[in-house]
Subunit: 476 residues, 2 copies
């Protein structure tokens, strides 16, 4: 196990330098690499395999809720961005702009989509004649570009991959219901698949999406007590409908503006996974999103029968729907143990001559590092059960960690202390001035105003009566 020691030495101490630990882990496990242009990333096969599972899981949920996929051009005429005043203010500073193409300067500059509300509403306006054409419920899987000064793989990059849902409805009620439904789809997905429990709620005006009436989000707690915005769902009201003349003929014979929503999650989720579950040995992947759920490592595979038995077990696991891998590469078992531990495979199975004699295998789980012996007979069934147990355990562990890092604060002095490494749940008067001051003095921001939380007590900043209960935290 010389290699394990080496890996641990190569990776920064997560307690002492969490950001460096993150960077070391994502690079050394082959999830990602830096692209040649500053701020860009290459998503390597192991990282992309996680994204494919995320896509598959989410896509099934989108389709089950009546959405269809489509694809809109990534080049948006610059003038479109300007039609919604808040929207352009929010996005203009971050856009990348194409000024010439096909050897000639363009008459109108083209913005590379930072998000697609503008171009999609333009198209919906064309497709929408009467109430019969509504609702329109479309999702798009795409790349987007937001030019950022400070970047970090998965968390904030100039280009990233995401999905963006865009819907148009005849009534405010329906559009709001859609907004809430998709937030719930995200929350359930985060907990069920990523084993990341999240806080959901409404964003403050300061933190909402540029152009939205209201933004709702889910926030995940990372192991350093900071928050990561893991998904958002926006109620856009008629803001974009008015900017893009998105009207329909209603049953009553009147032309009306539609109500719209948009919602998205991105490759950031891979960052959330890493920082919610990792440890000093590297990644710890929840089985539901792990590209390799169980790796089989043959021991002394020059001995008769070992390769055959390993292949037989591999095939049994695969047949049972387990994402299994048989690692028969020309490296030592110890080297492989280390690599798969670092890569966070939930279950490692060792098969050697003695195991074959005894009709058992040696099984190590990544989350608790516990080891056990299991009979070869019915291995697929016991591994499936073990994977479910790991998934459950990881969610519970994350939830316990999270719950123990949500604190309250009586006044601003308490707050300043408490917000280091914790989420602080407290009262807020609703004034932007207090929100700004909190950010300025503590670097913490209002993450969400949780649903079903009555405002009580006083504003943690100014001491006036609280209008909202807010979760504040430092955020990625």
């Amino acid at each position: 196990m010389a290699k394990q020691t080496e890996f641990v030495r190569e990776v920064a101490d997560m307690k002492a330098d969490f950001p460096q630990w993150y960077t070391d882990v994502v690079l050394k496990t082959g999830l990602v690499d830096y692209g040649p242009v500053k701020g860009t990333m290459v998503i390597r096969p192991y990282g992309y395999a996680i994204w494919e599972i995320i896509q598959k899981e989410l896509d099934a949920r989108f389709k089950a809720t009546g959405h269809r996929n489509a694809y809109f051009p990534m080049f948006i005429p610059e003038s479109y961005l300007k039609r919604e005043a808040e929207h352009v203010e929010g996005f203009a500073p971050e856009v990348a702009v194409v000024t010439y193409a096909g050897g000639a300067e363009l008459a109108e500059k083209l913005v590379v989509r930072p998000t697609s509300e503008t171009i999609i509403c333009e198209m919906y306006a064309k497709w929408m004649q009467s109430y019969r054409d509504l609702p329109i419920k479309i999702n798009q899987w795409a790349n987007v570009v937001r030019w950022e000064k400070t970047t970090r793989p998965f968390l904030r990059t100039s280009e990233f991959l995401w999905q963006e849902g865009h819907t148009a409805h005849a009534t405010e009620e329906e559009a709001l219901a859609e907004t809430m439904q998709m937030l719930e789809v995200y929350r359930e997905f985060a907990e069920t698949v990523l084993a990341v429990p999240v806080f959901v709620g409404r964003k403050t005006e300061k933190e909402k999406f540029a152009g939205a009436v209201a933004t709702f989000g889910m926030e995940a707690m990372m192991l350093d007590g900071k928050s990561l915005q893991a998904g958002t769902s926006h109620y856009l009201g008629q803001n974009f409908a008015k900017a893009f003349n998105m009207q329909f003929l209603d049953r009553d014979g009147k032309h009306k503006y539609a109500y719209s929503s948009s919602w998205g999650v991105s490759t950031r989720l891979i960052g959330a996974l890493i920082m919610a579950h990792g440890d000093q040995r590297g990644l710890v992947l929840p089985p539901h999103v792990a590209p390799v759920q169980a790796v089989i490592i043959p021991i002394a595979d020059h001995r008769p029968g070992v390769r055959e038995k390993a292949a037989e077990l591999f095939s049994a696991l695969e047949k049972a729907g387990i994402r299994a891998e048989l690692d028969s590469r020309d490296y030592s078992p110890g080297w492989k143990f280390n690599e798969w531990e670092m890569k966070g495979a939930p279950v490692r199975i060792e098969v050697g001559p003695r195991d074959i004699e005894q009709g058992t295998v040696f099984v190590a789980r990544r989350d608790t590092l516990e080891k056990q012996t299991l009979p070869m007979e019915g291995l697929a069934g016991s591994v499936s059960a073990l994977l479910e147990e790991i998934q459950k355990n990881m969610l519970e562990k994350s939830r316990a960690f999270r719950d123990s890092h949500v604190v309250t604060a009586g006044d601003f002095e308490d707050f300043k202390e408490a917000v280091n490494g914790n989420f602080v749940k407290c009262g807020w008067c609703g004034d932007r001035a207090c929100e700004d001051r909190i950010k300025e003095e503590t670097a913490a921001t209002a993450r969400v105003m949780p649903f079903d939380e009555e405002a009580s007590g006083t504003c943690v900043c100014c001491g006036k009566p609280a209008k909202h209960t807010v979760l504040f935290a430092k955020a990625y």
Copy 2:
């Protein structure tokens, strides 16, 4: 069926004006729409659903042949493009260029990828240390941009979706084998899934990919006798390896340049489908790629039991793995018949009160327009069988059409006549001058030099001894 007449009237006569027929069909069936920026397209849900099936089918084949997906940035430093001389010459005139981002002018201009050999080889060079790291076999699903003067939805657009495989190998032999393997994957896919028989072979020097040693392609014949390049597989030799210093330490302790390949197909394939199978009534989709394979239309659904029975049959089809749709929209049956015919659904099933009494359904197939009565009992099985029969029939029909439109030509005068509406198979001396002259005088180009065709006879253009047998055709 008033609506059918209307649709036929709305669509150009395919015999008289095939290009207009194509445009009418793709727009009116909701496959695609024009984007706001000239030359761009919006792939609407029905069109995107076809693309999703194409992706799923191809992706499974790529994985089965040992490839993994990844994602590389779409912004490529302009200098990269220039490192391979032929490559820049081929692509520079078509690129879109980002000159400022994040509110500032960029120090180096960024090209939006027209293809990714350059950036991928740059990364491979970094990842490749020794022979143990080879082969690298990666595929990417992505959008690309090529600024074109004349555009047409799916066939040629400024931005399109595709997959690009990029592999690196230790030996020339392996890289060539990979190039050929992927061409065969494409050919098998085109025939099995799209029901489009293709000609495969090598491209001439004039027609090869900019930067390749050799390009191999598959060409599909459209119903107007023109050719559509449906997929290409390039053997790149060490050209990009040398330009990007892609070296590895071989077993013999020497540093060597790797050999690489690249291969791709795009949303063009949707255009091929339409033009290979369509008719005056609209789309005719092969079952293996049809988003809706069987549509159930309830007749007189206000009558008791109709809706229930239709829902029951729908659920039976779905359970059998058929992509079924129950069309219970508030339109007349005739309107729906027309719409699904126009949209090319392979099988239409009608269920009304009399059918229920008799325990049968009325079934119409789109390819032959034949109608039959089938028992409700075991419907899923008989529909599955019918879908396979339709798939087979469509391939055979396409093959017969194609074979009857491949002609020979004794001399250039024959050729000029024959190449209208046909592929011409003939001898070519191998000189660029003849190839250029053929294009100039007939607008036809060398599509492929089919494998296993001995050169015989004389060059169709100059009469000198032929070095190659070539398929010439006018092409999209």
